[in-house]
Symmetry: C2
Subunit: 289 residues, 2 copies
Amino acid sequence: MAVLGIDIGGTKIAAGVVDADARVLETAVVPTRACEGYATSYAQLKSVIDKLLRDGVTAIGICAPGPLNPKTGVVINPPNLPGWVNIPLAEQISKEFQLPCRVENDANAAGLAEWRFGAARGYSTVFYVTVSTGIGTGIILDGKIHHGKNGQAGEGGHVTIDYRSSSICGCGLPGCIEALASGPAIARRAGMPPEEVGRAAACGDPRAIEMLDETALMLGAWLGSAISLLDPDIIVIGGGVAQIGEPLFSRLRRITPERSINQFAAETPIVPAALGAQVGILGAACTVL
Amino acid sequence: MAVLGIDIGGTKIAAGVVDADARVLETAVVPTRACEGYATSYAQLKSVIDKLLRDGVTAIGICAPGPLNPKTGVVINPPNLPGWVNIPLAEQISKEFQLPCRVENDANAAGLAEWRFGAARGYSTVFYVTVSTGIGTGIILDGKIHHGKNGQAGEGGHVTIDYRSSSICGCGLPGCIEALASGPAIARRAGMPPEEVGRAAACGDPRAIEMLDETALMLGAWLGSAISLLDPDIIVIGGGVAQIGEPLFSRLRRITPERSINQFAAETPIVPAALGAQVGILGAACTVL
């Protein structure tokens, strides 16, 4: 028994045949021709599915950038997929390939995969965070994604930590953590890529150390607030910025509990994501496994 | 069938006999002699229970200010109840009166009561807020309080909306919404009690209008973030500051969706709590009903 897991991103569509033990048996990747609009990128999606479909595949799971409604499988209008406006994607794919299909927000799906196969295995309340071009989050409660009323829950990247900030987020709001501490925000302040900031800080570069301290203070205030509100069993951090590794994680582990009212916050593990580059494929697969 | 619901506060202990239809059949209230320490206030609690206990009472529910652990029934060290340090309250009361007993955080209990009997009846994801001397919150998911790992979830009053703020909260953290928009914070900025701010604003007082706008901006940024993260079906607001009424609620209903990435935020009802002064007794009762 296996399923297809498909990760539709703004730059590539990555798909895989995944079995119940999280083994990725075969993959296919195509660069998304997103700017050519819906018809082109939807045709790309179908051809990737055609390529991987085989006997024994029982369902198709898809993750994509939000906003989308995982309850109905409708893609609403993701900025990274121009022309995908109110597309009933789960229904269309299900009809086309005569298989059950689910569509999930990419950060939610990644969080679910980390809970099922990765760093958050065995934990009850999981706060999953991905820090890369944007900041995404997923709340996993007892192995289920918390979707909320409209399926839009988990947009923690657009929680404000500075409601009067002059830094305006891509979403239009001031002071979202994404506007302040995502990869591009770090690169802009530091004048170098985030991974480079980590290396330079480890070598004692004072400017890089200052940048890292500032980023960790913002992320720590935000994670501390998340602990105050949700009291998670574990916080898992993935995405490109997590590649900074220990220079970032050691700071977050120190600052986050200082920024939470929760007296047990220091005991909340803050760990790197475990699933690496295939988290999207695995996450999409998890929605139907 | 009935239960006792007991609301232990810093100023009074309010208790009632509550039936399954949320009818409060009899009540007892004593001013808490909190400053005399644990032995005195615990004795007060027991005498209130003695007074109300009767045939047909099947359980005792207690709510108290945090921090406490509702999973174990241990009161940890609430600032408003000096001397109550690591008290296994549920166990003690249960032994003493030979009845099942639960202990719950007061804002969580109030949220549960609003879900079961009040403004949030029939809703799946409920974000309950009380704005008074402090700001408390409770997250109710499908009729259950979200407790988190250590039973400390729901401390939304200590989520930061201004991580570099010079306003330091009672909890010691900068920029908590409680430090900025609780009753005392409003009174301090306005030079008048919060209820008075609402009346003065309704009469066109420019200073009061400015205060109300500023408070609504802060609460709106905070609630907008909560919608981004949790996508609740409804937000219920109780506590003394909610008594400002329409001048506050109309502003919150306008500003909150402007401060959320959730495209459906404007459809999330923001409503006053329905249960009034007995919410504590009813909330405590709900934990064992």
